[in-house]
């Protein structure tokens, strides 16, 4: 198998026993870039990150440097690290949090300095107790070394970091919901505009929200420089990308890869292919919100943001869920729709009602109570949630959660209509 250069998972690969300790972190060059950053200007740092074309790894692939350049002049400003990772199929941030927490802390320092932030929050989903303990320990160690706190690295710069635990709500991953949650409110997304928390966020102050993996890249961008970082990637997709591969696959796991390899390479070479005697049926290329791919149309497609978008889907947060020929697509779609229905915050009628309906119709087909009109009904309800069933979806709601629930419906009706019809007509799963 080809080996690919590692950036954010390099230390844990080379030093598995202690990659999480400050000792190992510093012995491998850690905190040198944060120390340097404290002596750099905001313009230089934002310019560097813009130059690297680092794209957000939380799902929307928004350019990090551009986001930072939007920061409104109001002060104080805040930084919130999004470690709420909860989209089914995604488990990459967990590995970064557990295995290399200092890399994140260093990324936090760099980002804080670049955005003149003096208080940063790391919002970790409540179920990630062990990752949160590792991060808190790293933060405590950094305070002890005076890399955090008053006058960091012997400068006049003060930086406080608070590790905050969520309490079981996927929607808090949406950045404005995350901010509400951090204010002690219900974790409901805020109405837009303002479109960016950088204009108005936590306590109505300018706020930068970035994903764990995004920030974990920063020490490396500063260390290697913009050109080296761009060289690791493929065209506009600079750097590496962490894929979480799960489902019916021989070697599930997180894989740090450059863009541009094909789906065939990822599924069959990198992740070991399917289990004995099984065929690939379909896969989700970028998390529960993404429309699915099928072997006939997509296996040779290069994995890039553009190619994926052109084919009507997205890489999202990098979750690849593989399904083999034993999979009942009705059941799989039901499970994904149930997720969105469970996690809808309920503010918008199309999302709240629509996801409940979709779940009910799918369940009724699955349990043999389906009716001939159900396929049309599924599409009808979907159209009410996301008008025209376009990609990217049209928004009828405050946040993209509602429209995301339509992706599995579009996928199964497009590629597996016959199977759904057979399911309805026979009253049992045709694979059973």
């Amino acid at each position: 198998m080809t080996s690919y250069p590692r950036v954010v998972t390099k230390r844990m690969e080379e030093h598995p026993d202690d990659s999480h300790t400050i000792k190992r972190y510093q012995a491998t060059g850690g905190y040198k870039q944060a120390r340097r950053a404290v002596r750099m200007t905001r313009e230089d740092l934002v310019g560097l990150v813009e130059g690297s074309r680092l794209l957000g790894r939380g799902g929307a692939a928004f350019p990090a440097g551009l986001k930072w350049s939007f920061l409104a002049p109001g002060r104080p400003s805040y930084l919130v690290v999004n470690a709420d990772e909860s989209e089914p199929g995604t488990f990459k941030d967990r590995q970064l949090l557990e295995r290399d927490p200092h890399q994140l802390v260093e990324g936090v320092i760099i980002t804080a300095v670049a955005n003149e932030v003096h208080h940063a929050f790391i919002y970790i989903r409540g179920e990630y107790a062990k990752p949160a303990r590792r991060v808190q320990k790293a933060v405590d160690e950094a305070y002890r070394e005076r890399f955090l706190g008053k006058g960091i690295f012997g400068s006049k710069y003060d930086l406080e970091v608070t590790v905050h635990l969520g309490a079981g709500a996927y929607i808090c991953g949406e950045e404005t919901a995350l901010i509400n949650s951090l204010e002690g409110l219900r974790g409901e997304p805020r109405l837009k505009p303002p479109y960016f928390p950088a204009a108005m966020g936590l306590y109505n102050q300018p706020t930068i929200v970035n994903n764990v993996e995004t920030l974990s890249n920063l020490p490396h961008i500063l260390e290697g420089g913009v050109d080296e970082y761009k060289g690791l990637g493929h065209d506009v997709d600079t750097g590496t990308f962490l894929f979480s591969v799960s489902g019916h696959i021989r070697k599930p796991g997180n894989y740090e890869l450059p863009h541009g390899i094909t789906w065939r390479e990822l599924i069959f070479d990198v992740a070991g292919g399917l289990r004995e005697g099984r065929q690939l049926k379909t896969w989700i290329p970028g998390g529960a919100s993404a429309p699915w791919f099928v072997p006939d149309d997509h296996l040779e497609l290069p994995i890039t943001k553009d190619d994926t978008a052109k084919a009507g889907s997205m890489l999202g947060s990098g979750a690849v869920v593989v399904m083999d020929d034993s999979t009942c697509v009705v059941r799989a779609a039901e499970r994904i729709v149930r997720f969105f229905s469970d996690e809808s915050c309920g503010q918008c009628t199309p999302c709240r009602e629509g996801t409940t309906w979709l779940e009910m119709i799918l369940r009724r087909i699955e349990t043999g109570q389906g009716r001939d009109v159900d396929i049309d009904l599924l599409l009808d309800v979907s159209d009410n949630i996301s008008v025209g069933l376009a990609w990217p979806p049209k928004m009828t709601t405050i946040c993209p959660l509602g429209p995301s629930a339509v992706s599995p419906i579009i996928s199964i009706t497009k590629y597996f209509k016959g199977e759904i019809q057979a399911h309805i007509q026979r009253g049992v799963c045709p694979l059973a």
Binding site: F91, R94, T162, A332
Partner: protein, 208 residues
């Protein structure tokens, strides 16, 4: 007058000091209230309201939004079984049934002895080690229905003071999402996350 122990009140003060505005401490204080009473009681929420200076109704509005704040008593060991897509594909529904069967209660409920609660949940970020579950938010990856039954028996007979993820994984787990590499020093003491600022992380025994 506060019902909370001096120690808990001191802890609450430290937690509030971590935030620029007191109200931001609502979430950690709700965990503290759970740790104090075993679950989130009316009194606990009133205490939180008073500490941060909002009404009990505002605290309830926030608390009721999040699934990890349990407003009914739960067992000493809360077993949370993921049934989202990646786990479902690899047999999570059978694991959930095995748990319900061994515990003698349907999911969402607690056994008569108050020892074990079973619930199902959406993705817990362990999809590469599917099917996965947590005991008091300490993880087991690649569990089987048989191992799930054994887990319930073991919790009932061994009654561990501190639930440690490595012990659970060694006894009941299979291949993980990624190499865990290093043993974890701390574990959970109740059905809420073990996290040092909350005072809920206890050392796991026997190793040092």
């Amino acid at each position: 007058m506060s019902r909370w122990r001096q120690e808990t009140r001191e802890r609450a003060r430290q937690i509030m000091a971590r935030y620029p505005q007191k109200r931001s401490a609502v979430m950690p204080l709700l965990y503290l209230a759970m740790a104090e009473d075993g679950y989130l009681t009316e009194e606990g929420m009133a205490e939180v309201a008073e500490l941060v200076g909002i009404t009990p109704a505002q605290v309830l509005a926030a608390a009721s939004f999040y699934t990890m704040y349990k407003r009914e008593p739960v067992g000493r060991y809360l077993i949370t079984c993921c049934t989202s897509i990646s786990c479902m594909l690899l047999g999570a529904d059978d694991v959930l049934h095995a748990l319900e069967d061994a515990a003698g209660v349907p999911h969402g409920e607690t056994d008569a002895e108050g020892v074990i609660s079973v619930e199902h949940a959406e993705c817990i970020g362990a999809c590469g080690g599917a099917p996965a579950l947590q005991v008091n938010y300490e993880l087991i990856e690649s569990i089987t229905p048989d191992k799930a039954r054994e887990l319930v028996q073991w919790l009932r007979s061994a009654h561990p003071e501190v639930v440690g993820t490595d012990e659970l994984q060694n006894l009941f787990g299979g291949s993980p999402s990624f190499d865990w590499a290093i043993r974890e020093d701390f574990g959970a003491i109740g059905p809420y996350p073990a996290f040092s600022p909350l005072g809920t992380a206890a050392p796991v025994g026997g190793e040092e």
